[in-house]
């Protein structure tokens, strides 16, 4: 059931918002997007679950907004198909897909008051006037802009406009909520506040949501699942912690969070699998997948919190010299230059002792259970338990 023929009046009208929208799952199969000869998305498949908060994450130009607009129907699809609840929607107009869309620049109608903006979608659906008022009031107060209902949009702050855009998209009880970098025009503090608001409202309304952002921290804070995209291809799709802890390749490892990349070799010593770093520092890594247990050149990705500073310069670890440090209260960041010339960033919980001074010789050790190892040629992870796509 996808088309706009379903009217809101068929829905229950209780004060309880949960479950009032009829959410859907979205299936994208072998989608292709071309602009003339230029292929933006070569072949993309994706399943978005019912009531899920799903984020498309990637650097600018990776095709994430293009994909979102294909789901919305503003972009055509040149191959494959997109289904809502199993029904193909490739050729259906955006207005008939029953979607709610929030735009990067909010796209609030500047010639209408806040109330008129929110009412707009209901009016085009020819809902009776008293119902329109009731629904509009409910959603205005849901996003806490009821006191500005009669203001013109130019007298609202960015955060308030964002809330109006959200109310306007939700009031029509869409099957899918689509959001295109909705927080990118807000300042840092408001961005964090609004992402909580969006998350809460989404859970409250219980609606399948597709969210586009290039901010990996925002994506992790808000999403049930994330798809990391680059150049029109999904590199990895999974829960935030999955992607952060077991990235599928070097791109994901470096795009999500900060990673230090160190060169090394995979060695087999009887049954033990070991990684040798440049400085003949060797650790046992038991988490290598069975088929990858063979000698090979590797790249080791260690997040700053996965490195440990050993102040005993003759002890175990990779030798290096502290170049600089940044004290950030809870943590202190150290920038260490290794003998190989590689730079590494290390995060340590600040302690009451003095900060290690620049020029100090130290050794770096790794937390073996957390680090990720990639084949140096293919850049693919050779760890156990890495999933490219999780259904």
């Amino acid at each position: 059931m996808v088309c706009g023929s379903r009217t809101v009046s068929a829905l229950p009208l209780g004060n309880e918002l949960r479950g009032s929208a009829m959410s859907v799952d979205i299936n994208i199969r072998h989608a292709v997007k071309k602009y003339g000869e230029n292929v933006v998305i070569p072949d993309l498949s994706l399943a978005i679950h019912n009531k899920e908060f799903f984020t498309l994450l990637g650097p600018s130009g990776c095709g994430k907004t293009t994909l979102l607009r294909m789901i919305a129907g503003f972009n055509t699809i040149e191959g494959g198909d997109i289904c809502f609840n199993g029904k193909e929607v490739n050729a259906i107009d955006p207005g008939k897909r029953n979607i709610g869309m929030v735009f990067q620049n909010y796209a609030i109608f500047p010639n209408m008051t806040v109330r008129k903006n929110v009412e707009f979608g209901l009016k085009t659906r020819r809902i009776p006037a008293d119902r329109i008022k009731e629904e509009t009031d409910r959603f205005l107060s849901l996003v806490h802009v009821d006191q500005y209902a009669d203001r013109m949009p130019d007298r609202l702050s960015g955060g308030q406009q964002q809330r109006v855009a959200l109310a306007r998209a939700l009031v029509i009880r869409p099957d899918v909520l689509l959001m295109d970098e909705p927080l990118s025009n807000l300042d840092a503090k408001l961005r964090i506040e609004m992402r909580t608001v969006i998350r809460d409202i989404q859970k409250n309304v219980g609606i399948t949501t597709v969210y586009v952002t290039h901010d990996q921290e925002e994506a992790m804070a808000i999403s049930d699942r994330i798809a990391v995209m680059q150049a029109g291809v999904i590199h990895q799709c999974g829960k935030p912690q999955n992607i952060y802890l077991r990235p599928v390749d070097l791109f994901v490892a470096t795009f999500i969070g900060k990673s230090n990349l160190l060169k090394g070799k995979l060695l087999l010593d009887g049954k033990a699998v070991r990684v040798q770093f440049a400085d003949s520092y060797i650790v046992d890594i038991p988490y290598i997948s069975e088929e990858q247990r063979k000698p090979q050149e590797v790249v080791i990705s260690c997040r700053p919190e996965e490195l440990v500073i050993n102040v005993d310069e003759r002890g175990e670890g990779i030798h290096g010299i502290i170049k600089d440090s940044v004290f950030l209260g809870l943590n202190t960041h150290y920038f260490v230059e290794l003998d190989s010339g590689e730079q590494a960033e290390v995060v340590q919980e600040s302690n009451i002792d003095d900060i290690l001074p620049p020029g100090k010789h130290v050794r770096l050790m790794v937390k073996t259970s957390k680090i990720n190892i990639f084949n140096a040629d293919t850049h693919m992870s050779i760890m156990q338990g890495v999933k490219l796509l999780t259904e």
Binding site: T76, M101, F103, A169
Partner: protein, 549 residues
């Protein structure tokens, strides 16, 4: 975004507009070209062109027109840019009043100024007689100097209006940045301000050039033997030696060639300045220093006062007692009485009807063109965009001649109707309105319409309910000035009018031609009055700063 689209409302709009252009622009131009190079008895011939370039009496009109237009252009920039600079950057006393007067200057029919200057400084003019008393005799308002004076005073406000917009687009941080690097005062004016506003300066220069080049009333009245292009066209068309369509058409083609050439030169110059600006913090006006402040006030008020002088004097003259062309002592309403009997009412009615009908047509077409060009860019719509700019390089007299040639016989005989006047005026004005509508359209983010569509509105509904209201500010501010230039339009009308379709401006011209100067003054006064009423209504709806051409 490339999409395969079904035939919808916009495809229909596209084809309709193309059809209208074909019928009312391309077809008449084709007719004009054919008339210029084709004679029934001789077939294809270039005789008319040979005739034109064979006699200095004819070809000198090109140089005359070019010289006048260039001189007027430079003088207008010279007068207008400092005026606008003082106006935007300093708090002058009576700013609003100053600007309204400035607008009024440019809103009179072109030749009314010429006529008033003749009354003031002609052979028996007021100022001439005063100067005679002082022993100054050797000057003449007639000829080159007079045309330049009248046109400069009428056209410099265009530069002011353009430059006000450009100066307001400059972010104050740019000015501060220049100052922090030690560039200020006059130095900053030339090195920063003028280079930042160069695209606008060039646009204003082009507009002034085109207006001056196409102006027909002023050189006709005050030229006295200094013949310009449009006057030549008109004389050949309606000359004392009988009308010569063939030659008039040829001269028209040459005229379009000359203006087209200048248009290309301007485009070429403009292509060197490709940047966009949008001020987050526009410059706020400051109080001027004492001495320079006094100078600024004197400058601005003097320029406006001199420009307003002719109109004020005409109003005064309309209440003087006249016996046909003989001025009698004392005051009376006899001029209005006579004007009334000479179809003042019909002329006013026609003027109002034609202007509002034209306005409705061009707004509708311009909005549609803007949407098609910005949102539905394809070959047909690009063609529409280019064709819509064509009238920009066509002097009014050329439009008039072209329409008369093709529409005074079958299959479509509409010459002599109000309809053809509306067509002529709509063609003349369309480039300006469609330009400003397109610019407004470009500033509207497509996601606003997409938002409406995602909420279930149809494409047409989202256009009507969202896009058009959002454009309305830009449209209204352009429309009022269009309206004024329509009611004061003369050069095409004078070729197309007849007794039934006479307008106020043409009524004035006819009265001057017949030597009944008092009646002419009465017609001119009514025109001015209408303009003022319109301007007042307009200012109720628009902020002064938003005025655009």
């Amino acid at each position: 975004m490339k999409q395969i689209r079904r035939f919808d409302f916009w495809s229909a709009a596209s084809l309709t507009i193309l059809g209208l252009f074909g019928l009312f622009l391309i077809y008449p131009l084709g007719g004009l070209l054919k008339e210029a190079v084709f004679l029934p008895e001789k077939g294809f011939t270039l005789d008319a062109f040979r005739k034109f370039f064979g006699k200095s009496y004819y070809y000198s009109t090109i140089f005359n027109s070019f010289r006048i237009a260039l001189t007027v252009m430079f003088l207008c920039l010279l007068l207008g840019i400092p005026f606008s600079y003082f106006y935007t950057f300093y708090k002058l006393k009576g700013r609003k009043f100053l600007f309204v007067l400035c607008l009024l200057c440019t809103m009179s029919a072109p030749f009314i100024g010429a006529y008033a200057w003749i009354l003031l400084m002609g052979n028996n003019g007021l100022i001439t007689n005063v100067l005679k008393g002082l022993g100054v005799r050797k000057f003449s308002i007639y000829g080159f100097g007079g045309i330049v004076l009248v046109q400069t005073l009428k056209l410099f406000p265009l530069v002011v209006i353009y430059m006000n917009g450009a100066f307001r687009n400059i972010d104050s941080s740019l000015m501060e940045a220049a100052e922090s690097m030690g560039c200020k005062g006059v130095d900053r004016f030339f090195r920063v301000l003028l280079s930042l506003t160069m695209p606008t300066i060039l646009a204003a220069a082009l507009l002034v050039f085109m207006r001056s080049f196409a102006d027909f009333g002023t050189p006709l009245l005050i030229g006295r033997g200094y013949t310009t292009f449009p006057v030549l066209i008109y004389n050949e068309y309606l000359g004392e030696n009988g009308s010569d369509y063939h030659f008039a058409a040829a001269v028209s083609i040459i005229a379009v060639g000359v203006t087209g050439l200048f248009f290309l030169i301007q485009k070429l110059a403009n292509s060197r300045f490709k940047f966009t600006m949008n001020a987050m913090h526009p410059v706020t006006a400051v109080n001027p220093k004492k001495v320079s402040g006094i100078f600024m006030h004197i400058y601005c008020y003097a320029v406006v006062a001199i420009s307003m002088l002719p109109q004020v004097y005409i109003i005064y003259m309309s209440f003087r007692k006249y016996n046909n062309s003989i001025l009698l002592p004392g005051y009376s309403l006899v001029n209005y009485q006579k004007a009334w009997s000479k179809s003042l009412l019909r002329a006013t009615g026609n003027t109002l009807f034609i202007s509002f009908a034209t306005l409705a047509v061009i707004i509708m077409v311009a909005v549609l063109i803007a949407y098609l060009v910005v949102r539905r860019s394809n070959i047909i719509n690009q063609a529409i965009d280019t064709i819509s700019m064509l009238p920009y390089i066509m002097p009014g007299a050329v439009v008039g001649i072209a329409l008369v040639i093709v529409f005074s016989h079958k299959p479509l005989c509409i010459a002599g109707t109000l309809g053809i006047m509306i067509v002529a005026l709509a063609i003349r004005r369309l480039p300006f309105t469609s330009r400003s509508a397109t610019a407004t359209m470009m500033s509207i983010s497509p996601s606003i319409e997409e938002a409406a569509i995602s909420l279930g509105a149809s494409k047409l509904a989202s256009f009507v309910k969202i896009t058009v209201p959002m454009m309305s500010n830009g449209i209204i501010s352009g429309a009022v000035l269009s309206w004024v230039s329509i009611i004061t339009e003369m050069s095409s009308g004078v070729i197309l009018y007849n007794n039934r379709t006479i307008t106020l401006t043409i009524g004035t011209y006819v009265a001057i031609n017949n030597g009944v100067y008092g009646v002419a003054a009465a017609f001119a006064t009514v025109t001015t009055l209408l303009t003022i009423v319109c301007l007042v209504v307009y200012l109720k709806f628009t902020r002064l700063e938003d005025i655009r051409m």
